[in-house]
């Protein structure tokens, strides 16, 4: 692997730069590729932390009447697990992929605002560190109130001073405000890059689908994540200055917080899931050796999901007692999301249909997503029906549903994306053998953990309880669920070992190991600091296909 040293280090001319010099280069960098990698590494570290929290939760729930952790510790664990996975894993890892890939896919030198980019990363990083530093204030250490324990959606008035004294909730509020600023900065930057930095000839209709989906997602972040930042500011005014926004004793409304939170919270699900669709839309065509089926429809479906997702938030609130008209509206709008997502699913299947499918590791993960996302979608449609939701809301059925979305679909898609683009970023191939071990262990572990939770939920097991009583038929489902964690951990260990091993010993990748068609594969792996030696010119959706097949280019058919 040739290191793409920065001019500073190269100009020094003193041989190998010291560890400190290299660290310094990474800290002060404004290069989108380095920031992208930093986002992804940051997210992987927090994936490990959030995973450890989940493991302790499952250990506690492995048997009835278990007392591994106290009820209060359990509250902290599920709060920090949820908050970490959404804000410190999902958002940054996707920001990292967008950062790394978008300028390469559109043939740009860098993002539109490189310094804003660095700001976005660092404020996200410090927000995450601030939030997690709350663990250090635990009573046993410094006599504080420990980590937040109000649940990841921080319902009012539990988050008010009267019910959550101490600083724990303030760590949560301020940490998330900072992370929110980072998301907004990142979204402005990436969207501007896509709108103003495309290579000559790359019209909107020729952008790779990952870039298209990223553009929609950035707009959703601007519209949907900002309300969370605003609501958190209002909550902070309540806690810090004694305002009364969410304080029912002074006329404030607990319900308003729920509306504000879910106006953010539901689009957020699609903000997380859509980039996963983007990965699939890149991986599936390449490993089926076919062009994506229905490109314009895929774009339209993405935009449709973006719009519909803004009008479905109150399906999280069926049980608070809204009017029948509101329940009907949000039931229908929620069911409606299944239409564009269904279209996407069928388009991926049609892409695979008749293709020469290569079952490499990225493709295995992509195929698993198709199946597991189908399950997630079906339970989603079930929960969109208000009477069904009244029965099963706040039960383990809901937990199983959204883990099928965020783990079974999103995390699997992210794993596929890492296997697909690691050779580009590092210049070396990940091991297929370890990759298959990772895939099968994780597939088995994930399904063992989360399929039984559907049944536990239907048998009446509520969310967020630190233990359950024996003799109600819940033991077996919880035990199987906890056993699955061991498989997931083993799979995760294969993944980490694969990443570390391939960095030193993996076979060299070359420019284009998958024989793919988008611009990032036209340059060396890892790409040079300037990306493209001369600005590329694009005349179809698959510029590298045109390059490799000059006698039969795509633009004859588009």
């Amino acid at each position: 692997m040739t290191t793409t040293g920065f001019p500073i280090a190269a100009a020094a001319g003193k041989g190998v730069p010291s560890v400190f010099d290299r660290l310094y280069e990474w800290v002060v960098t404004v290069d989108h590729k380095r920031l992208g990698i930093m986002y992804i590494l940051f997210a992987l570290v927090f994936l490990l932390i959030g995973g450890i929290e989940a493991t302790v939760i499952r250990l506690q729930l492995a048997a009835a009447n278990n007392h591994l952790v106290s009820p209060h510790t359990f509250n902290t664990l599920f709060t920090m697990h949820g908050t970490t996975m959404v804000f410190l894993v999902g958002m940054p890892i996707l920001a990292g992929f967008a950062n790394y890939l978008v300028p390469l896919q559109i043939g740009a030198r860098d993002v539109a605002f490189p310094r804003v980019n660095a700001f976005g990363f660092w404020i996200t990083c410090f927000g995450g560190l601030l939030l997690n530093s709350s663990f250090l204030t635990a009573p046993v250490l410094f006599g504080g109130s420990g980590a937040p324990d109000v649940g990841w959606f921080g319902y009012a008035p539990l988050t008010e001073n009267a019910f959550s004294p101490g600083n724990a909730t303030d760590y949560w509020v301020v940490g998330l405000i900072l992370v929110g600023f980072g998301s907004i900065a990142g979204a402005v930057n990436i969207a501007t890059t896509i709108l103003t930095g495309r290579a000559r000839g790359m019209t909107l209709g020729r952008m790779p689908l990952f870039t298209w989906i990223t553009l929609v997602v950035q707009c959703m972040i601007l519209v949907a994540v900002s309300p969370l930042t605003a609501s958190l500011i209002l909550l902070f005014l309540d806690r810090g200055l004694g305002a009364h926004f969410f304080d029912p004793q002074a006329g404030g409304s607990a319900l308003l917080w729920q509306h504000f939170f879910w106006i953010f919270g539901h689009p957020e699900v699609y903000v997380l899931m859509l980039p996963g669709f983007g990965f699939l839309s890149e991986i599936i065509p390449v490993f089926s050796r076919k062009v994506i089926f229905g490109y314009p429809v895929m774009v339209a479906a993405t935009v449709a999901i973006g719009f519909i997702s803004i009008s479905v938030w109150a399906h999280h609130m069926f049980s608070v007692g809204m009017s029948p008209a509101a329940n009907t509206f949000f039931s229908i709008s929620t069911g409606l999301v299944a239409v564009p997502t269904g279209i996407k699913l069928f388009n991926w299947l049609a892409t695979m249909w008749g293709g020469r499918i290569q079952l490499r590791t990225p493709m295995l993960f992509a195929i698993a997503v198709l199946l597991q996302f189908l399950v997630a979608g079906i339970t989603g449609v079930m929960l969109s029906v208000a009477p069904f939701d009244w029965q099963l809301t706040d039960s383990y059925f809901v937990v199983a549903h959204f883990h099928f979305v965020l783990v079974g679909s999103l995390l699997f898609a992210i794993f596929g994306a890492v296997y697909y683009w690691y050779p580009k970023a590092v210049g070396r191939m990940l091991s297929e053998r370890l990759g298959k071990w990772h895939f099968w262990l994780f597939l088995i572990g994930f399904n063992l953990t989360f399929i039984p939770q559907h049944f536990a939920g239907m048998l009446g097991m509520p969310r967020r309880v630190y233990t359950f009583l024996p003799g109600r038929g819940l033991e077996i489902w919880n035990l199987i669920s906890s056993i699955g964690v061991a498989f997931q951990l083993a799979g995760g260990a294969c993944f980490v070992w694969n990443l570390i091993r391939a960095y030193r010993r993996g076979p060299l990748a070359g420019n284009d190991p998958w024989d793919a068609w988008t611009l990032e594969w036209a340059i060396s792996s890892p790409p040079p600091a300037y990306n493209f030696a001369e600005p590329p010119v694009v005349s179809s959706r698959r510029p590298l296909w045109d390059l490799k097949h000059p006698h039969d280019p795509d633009w004859h058919y588009e």
Binding site: A187, A230, H244, G251, L256
Partner: protein, 196 residues
């Protein structure tokens, strides 16, 4: 390797400039933030459990509104002047914008001072106080941010460093300033007309 054959090599290729696009996207995010504050304000109108009420203590801020809205005109004239190369005229109108913005802030300060000392309305008093100080304060903090940016450019201008080719960057600040003005129209409508 990276040059790919093109059917019509001379296709014109222009994309929007990154400054205006970036600030407009940022304004989209800011609008969502204001929307939440405005929604909270509207939701809590008349729900305070104790006084004072808006009708008792608020007066329509005519002078402040005139100051801020006219500052949109001055910043626009300044940008046009810079585009034509009239840097002195640019600087004059730019500084006029700053003076009008500061006058607006002084009006807010005076209003808050009276509310706190005379009417004993603070953010803790009642829901009206909470929502009023949050919304007006959010807007005022945006005015302050805008003034900081205007002042930086003014400092460069006074040092003779602002040239006509800087117009696109100055224009980004003026777009933000127009946004702050438009938000004030919303705030005035909500707080001083609907809310009273």
């Amino acid at each position: 390797m990276t040059t790919i054959p093109l059917p019509q090599p001379d296709t014109p290729w222009t994309l929007p400039r990154r400054g205006p696009v970036g600030i407009l996207l940022f304004i989209l995010a800011e609008s969502s933030i204001f929307a939440v504050f405005v929604a909270a304000y509207l939701y809590y109108i008349g729900k305070s459990l104790t006084g004072p009420t808006p009708r008792e203590v608020l007066e329509f801020p005519v002078l402040m509104t005139v100051c801020l809205l006219s500052s949109s005109v001055t910043v626009h004239v300044a940008i046009r002047a810079l585009r034509r190369g009239a840097t002195a005229r640019f600087l004059g109108f730019w500084i006029a914008t700053i003076i009008l913005g500061v006058a607006f802030l002084a009006g807010t300060a005076r209003e808050w001072y009276q509310l706190i000392t005379v009417h004993h309305l603070t953010i803790r008093t009642n829901l009206f106080g909470s929502t009023y100080y949050a919304l007006v304060g959010l807007h005022a903090s945006h005015v302050i941010a805008g003034l900081v940016m205007l002042l930086i450019v003014a400092a460069f201008g006074l040092a003779g460093r602002v040239r006509p080719d800087h117009v696109e960057r100055a224009d980004v600040i003026s777009i933000y300033w127009h946004f702050v003005d438009v938000v004030w129209i919303v705030v005035v409508t909500v707080v001083y007309i609907i809310g009273r």
